[in-house]
Every structure is written in C-alpha cells, then in structure tokens.
Amino acid sequence: MAELKIVGTSVSRKDAVEKVTGMAEFIEDRYMGPMLYAKMKKSTVAHGKIKSIDTTRALKHPGVKAVLTGKDYPNLIGLYLIDRSFLAVEKVRFWGEPVAVVAATTEKAAAEAVELIEVEYEELPGVFDPREGMKPDAPLIHEDLANYEIVPIFYPKAGTNIANHFKIRKGDINKGFEEADLIIERDYYVPQMQHVPIETHKAAVQWSPDGKLTVWSTAQSPNVVRQLLSKSLDIPMHKIRVISSYIGGGFGCKAGASIEGLLVPIAQKFPGHIVRIVFTREEDMQGTFTRQALYSKLKTGVRKDRRITSLQYKMIWDGGAYTEYGVNIVRAAGYSSTGAYDIPNVKTDSYCVYTNNSIGGPVRGFGMCEMQWGIERQLEVIARELDMDPLEVRLINGMKKGSSTASGQVVHDLDYDKCLKVVADKIGWGKKESNRNGKYRGKGIAGLVKCPAQPSNAASSAIIRINEDGTAHVMIGATEMGQGMLTAISQIAAETLHIPVDKIDIKVPDTDFTPYEWQSVGSRITYTCGTSVKRAAEDALGQIYRVAADLLETPEEDLSFDGKNIFSTNNSDKKATIREVADSCKKCTGEGIAGPIIGRGSFVPTNMTNLDPETGQGNPGLFYCFGATGVEVEVDPETGVVTVLQLACSIDAGKAVNPQLCTAQLHGGTIMGLSTALYEEVCFDKGIMLNRNFTDYKIATIDNTPHMDSFIIETPETHGPYGARGIGEQPMIGVAPAIANAVCNALGVEFNTFPLTPERVWQAVKDKK
C-alpha cells in the first residue's frame, strides 16, 4: 500500500468549531415555524386491557388541537419483528407505554390536557422475569405472535412468550464434555441498564399539503426511519424526507424507528404545522429501549492442558414488552457465544422472551457486554480451579488466525494475543501489590470481540461532488452522534482523492439528498460507509483522469494527480489544474469534454451468509474486532467501595483512521463500561421503573474517571478501507468483567452479576466469612 498521508493522522474534528461554540445544531435548536407540541399519556399498569379512553375533556382544553389514541392509529412498526404499535391498541404491555398523544399550541397546554385524559384498565397478570415468561402457563403478552410479520432469520414460538430461539450446534457437545477433565457450571445475571445519552429522544414532523412528509429526528438512521414509516403508513419513500441533525449521543437507543410515527397522523391533520415531541429524561429512560437483562447458564469443559473442549451456553433474555429489535441481539449473542475463544464443541440456546418490563433493545455492544460477562467471568473461575494464570487461559484458548467462531466462521485478521498482552503488561500483570491500610488490591483482565450485527445485505453508499475549484462535497447517509464519523469519512475521501481534508465538506444526512445508508450502528460505518466513500472517491478520481487525458491529450496511465494538478509523468508541461478539469473544456477550441465530476460508490457485504436454522452455522460477521481490558483495583472490604487504580484498554482497529478519535472512542467506551460495572442498574418493581432520573440512576462523572491507558493495535482488515475496521462499541465489552475479575482477585469471592456497588461488594465479603 502506498504511504498514507491523511488516513492515520489526527486531524481536528470536522464538527469541532461548531461544537465548542454552541453553534452545532441539534434538532431542538432548529427554529421550525408554526409548531404544535406533543405529549404522551402513558399507561399506569404494566399489563392490562384498555377498557376505555375518554379524551373529551382533553379535547376541550384550550390550545389542544388533536388527541390521538391507538384505536385511531393501530399501525404496526418494527425492524425485524413487526410487533409494536405507536400507541397501545386494546392492551398495554409495559408501564409507561403511550396510550394517547395530545398535540397543542403550547407545551403547557399539551401537558395539562394529558392529565385530563381518563383511561380505564383491566389489569392482567404480568410477566416480569423471562424465566417465568418461558413457562407454558405464563400469561401471554402477544397473543398474535404467530401472525406478526418477521424477517425469516428469527424463530418465534407461537402461543408462547418466546420471540426468538436461536441455536448453535457446533461439533459434538457431549464428546467435548467427555474429553474434559474439569467441568464448571455457573449462573450469571446481567441487569437492565439505560443508555442515557445527554440528549433525549426528540422528533418533529411536518406534512405538506402536497403529501410530502418531512421528519426531523434524533434517530441513528434516517434511512431506516424512512423505510419503516413508509411500510407502516403506506407512503412511498420519495414522499418521506428524514433529516438528521447532530445527535447528542445514541449508544443504540436511537437505532431503528419509534417515536417519529407517533406524530404523523397529527401532522396530517394540520398541514404546514410542525408537530414536535421532546422526551423528558424520565420518558427517555422508561419509554425507550433498555439494555435487555440476561439470565444465563454456562457449562464449560476444560482439559488439564487448559484447552476448553466444550461450552454449553443457555441465555434467557428479558426482551421486554416489544422485541422488534431485541430478537436480533439474542441472535447476535448466540452466534458469538464463545466470545474471543476458539471452542470446538458448542451448544447454545439463546431465547428472547417477552415480559412486561420496558422495551429491550440495542445498547453499545449489542448483547456482547451481557454475553461476554459470563464468558470472561467463567474463564476466571476455570483459571482458579485449575490454579493457573487467567491470562494464560485466555492466551491458550483465545482466537488466532484461522480460528472459528461459535457459528463456524473462520477469522483471519486478528492479533488477540497482543491485545491481551499489552494491557496485562501495562497493569503489571503477575506482580501482586501488597494490601495497604486494610484495603485489598487485585488485578483483572478480560478480552472482547464483536462483529457488526447487521443483516447480510445491509448496504451503504456515497456520492462525491467535485467542485469547480477542486474542493469536494461528500454525501453520505451516516449520522454523527459523537463517534467522529464525519471526520474519519472525510479523511478516507481526502486520502483517496489526494486532496487535503479541509477541502472536503461533509454534512449529516437528509434522505432527500444524501444516498442510502442502512444504519449508523454496530461499529460498521468506518468500514461500510468508508468503503463506499473510498469507492466514490476512486470513481471521481477515475473521471478526473479520463477528462484530463482528453484535455491534455495524454494517455491516462501517464497521468498523476498531486491534489492540485493533474500532470503527465513524462512531460511536466502537460498539466491541468483540477479546476480546469472540472470546467472541462478544451482550452484552445472551447470544445466541451465532460460535465461536472460526480463520484459514486456503494457497498454491500459479500462475505456474509444466513445461518442454518438448526445449527446456527454460517458467516454472520462482516469483520471481527478484538480487544482487551486490564484493571487494577483497591477494595475497601468494610465499605465495599471499589477504587479503580489502573485501567488499560486495547483495541485492534485494523488501521486507526484518526488515532486521536480512535483513542477517544476507546476511552469513552471504557468509561461507559466502568460506569455499568460499578453503578448502573435499572430497578423495576412489577414493571415500574423506579430509577428513571439522574438522581436515582447514577452514571460515572469526571470524578469517577481514573486515568486510562489505551493501546491501538493495527492488524489490517483485509477488506476494510485502508485496513480499517470499526471500534465504537467494543471498548465497553471487557470492562465490567475485568473489574469484577480484579475485585474477585482482591477479595477471593465470586461475582455472578454487576454492578459492583459498595453494598454488593460488602455483601460478598460478608457471605464469604
């Protein structure tokens, strides 16, 4: 590969100046014209029949323009499993589910009117634990499951609460256990957490009299919003325009589509008005995706030579009231269920179960944090039982070039050993620090792996317009929610076009103008959108050469482009500026050559396959990204307070397009992981979310942030743009198990769940005594 000039450098963020000056536009910052403000009436029971909804008083309230209930608007929506209505119809399935929406001329009037709506429920027995929900006599939450439309890679069980049962059958599980000298069995539990981006969910919708729907949304994917609305509302795609602003953090909760559709029927009644909804923090926490809780059981067989021979993994996921998206997390966790390890015999059953808790959905890691918690904790138990070094267990069983995943996909581009070793070295692995002042020290390590969980045909595309002066506009459909996509993508375009990054303009998407992108999720954009952009740039460059060849009357092969001039490598007099090429007229004759240069590129994976329904074998991974986390803690056994002394993280980025931003992702993901490891857990009481604000649900502050050491490893991704692969979610995955492993190491206890709150740690110490 030619030497890279732009990819691999830490240029400043494209959005930097806007963001530090307060000029960056988020959706609520738009002044949008005549407005109607929407507010939701939410259910007060977790599972119940709606006996009646009386909206008469609300409708009479001054300022109120419209009140909508599920009866008026029973349309269904969903990404993978179409099981969800915008408003509850006949029945509510979780506490806080919207049952009606009011639109009024002021926010205040809308809020007041909501209070005037009277809803009568007949409460039904609820399901709050998916293990109970799987039982044959459990109350049914979706009676109509059999009739829901579904992408045919998911396997719901009609007449039950099981929305998906994903299976892996690899090798011979029994033989694996027979070969084992030691069999370890443990139960694990991962509670729900919330993403809590500092910007809550927001959407605004406008209907124009000519039948065009414009949607502004905090959604991570404008194209999916368009696609799902089009299908749900039967509006052709060219009549729907979805506009993205900057997004104040996503982390998965803004994937798919949900709230936009609430507003459409109201907008249709008041053409020209903009109907806007802004979720309060409480609504955001309780009414949008939570991370699904996971109850799991692992049984691992190990030989004396420390090789793991078999793994049986049973996962029961709390899908919540709707699993339109969650079914795929369950699938992803299933096909990755050996984590970063090469295990020959695997039997996995991953169940997505409806409950009457808040809706489960994607969160940074897409099931990997939850699933690999069990894997990485189990390895620790194995190491202890075999009296061997936990790092060595990982190195011996860790994936290497040519290893195969749970689904039998062979991995090629990795150096997992290195990921583990750098963090181990950094924290002084093997050196036991002495306990001081009654506090215990411990070290822990955990590995991680993740591939994007995307359908095998999830596509990307890009358009590059070359201006007359040689500057360029890069048009893509990916969203900027902090990950630095605009910058990385610009760098890929600049590198390919041989022009400086500051000659590139790039913006957040608008489906009327920017080309298709499936979703900005799954750490896939650098790879997928990056590939499209690279192809578009190559296409544009090809055109530039073709025009220049004509203009300079020189064969294309003899031409070279240095970012300013296209010149003949044989005759330096023969040159044209990019501007001349862009104008593309033969100088002396005035005869036209070609019109403006527009490069196009698109991408769809070619290395992925569907999975066998019975064995789960196949290639679900576009690429696999490995990494590791190493931690040293100090624990106060009396109070249970865990202090993280050292925190090291590594990620194999393939090629860090922008090392500074790559490091920022590493740090950000690691802090989110630390926050979930120590503090975060959504608490429910019969479906009622108890901690739904920042007073009760605590996330890490700067004060809780130890110094982090980060390592970017670069094992090129063969088919990634300039060798790059995505890394956005991964850094979070190893943190909770690494911290827990360190605390276990310090105290000699076991943790099967987190967060490791002071009280939980104290309890463990007490139970040990």
Binding site: T106, E107, K108, E638, T639, V641, L678, Y679, C683, L690, N691, T695, D696, K698, A700, T701, D703, N704, T757, P758, E759, W762, Q763
Partner: protein, 276 residues
Amino acid sequence: MLSYDYIKCADLNLAFQELEEGEQVYPLAGGTDLIVGMRGGKFAAKTLIDIKDVPELNVLKEDDQGITIGAAITLNEVTGFTPVRENVPILAEGCHSVGSYSIRNRATIAGNICNASPAADTAAPLYALDAVINIAGSGGNRSIPIKEFFIGPGKTALNKGELVQSVLIRKPYPKGKGIYLKASRTGSVDLATVGVAVQRWGDQVKIAIGAVAATPVRAFSVEKAVNEAGEKRWADAARLVHEDISPITDLRGSREYRYHMVEVLVRRGLEQTMGV
C-alpha cells in the same frame, strides 16, 4: 410550565406578610430543591417569594456570638468563609459534599435544612455542632437548637408566617477535630446513603447521623459510652450506634447496609477525631 406568582422580596416584613396571608407560599432561596420538587409535583406552590435580596438574610459574619450564616448565603460561600474553615471545618465538609459545584453556587444551608430531608448533608454537621436556628416571623424572632428544628421528613418546626433567618454556630467552638463521612453509591455527586458527623469537643464527642431515621439523629448511645463511661475501644463504642438509628431500605441502600455503614463510619470517625 407551571404557573404561580413570583415576588422578589427585599423587605423581610413583606415576606412575613406573604407567608402569613397566602396559601401555598414558598420562600425561594437557591431553588435547587424547590424547582426540582415543583417539577416533580412534590410542591404545589401558588406563590414563590424570592428571599435572596433580603439584606438580613445576606449576612455572613463572625462576631462574639459565633458564626452567623444568613439564609441567602450559598454553600460555596459558606465553604469559602475562613472562620468556618478554621473553626468548624466539619461544616465546610458537609456543605462541600452537597451536589456539584454549580449546585452549591445556588444552594443554601437554610434551604438544605428547610427541605428537611433526613439525608441533608449539612444537617449532621449542624447537629454535631449544636447549631442554633434563628427563626424570624411576623410574630417575632426565636432561636431553637437544630435538633428541635427537624420534625420529620419534609417537616420542620417553622410555623406559618415564619422563615429561617440564619444559622448560628455558637462560640465557644469545639476544641478538636471534626469530620463528616458520607457514604454514597458513586462517591461523586450523589445523595448520602448515610452521613456521619463526628465532632470532638475537648475530651468529649458529639456524633450525628443522616439518612438513618425520619430526621437526622444524634448517636447518644455512642456518645454516652465515650463521654461518660470512657470507652476507648472505638469499635465497641461504634457498635452501640444501632440503638440510635432505624434506617429503611431504598434505592440507595438496604437497611442492613445502612446499619453496617453507620457503625463503620462512626468507628472511623472516632478513630480519626479521638485518636486511635
């Protein structure tokens, strides 16, 4: 948006009048409890009287009596006040442990105790310092000890028409070290799971605890053992604290954990103030 009247008050008598005559009238100091509470429906205020400009409430001084902290003085001002730092650092610690820096730029001690949360972080230090609450009202002024001020969760000894004018830390100041030990889930901006104030007074000690009963409480059993029976085994003394408290289980911690933590923090407090 909520609707109510707002009166900016520069005259104490005007405030008394409003408080006396109006229904659902609330003094507004920093607003860090009041505005949050109104948003959440905890308070249904009809009138807010902004008392921050009342001169009598803007007093922060040290004189023969001691340190007077007016009701409009912010927590950051208290923490930064040299006589507080030098003579009663335990109070500075309590104030500093409230919320975040920006919250403390608005929040007041008076607001903290008038909100009457058992977990109020300035309360335990004030109990351990035997602070006096100066109350003013149309019916005249009165002063009561802090332990009579708290009556129950959200309930104070204020009568209708009264407000807190200031908090007084009387001289003589305690001789000896005092510390406020706060346990919380994150150790950062968070409410107290329990808060323990231990203040040495010469060879005596006063201990007060927050978030373990309907009001902050004094650990009289421990104090008695140390001060009267001369108990020097701090662990044994600390164990007695169970008799003084009756914590509940909530999102921040279980009853059992609270019992345990109070004992640990009382012991540590004794060690650090009374010597190991």
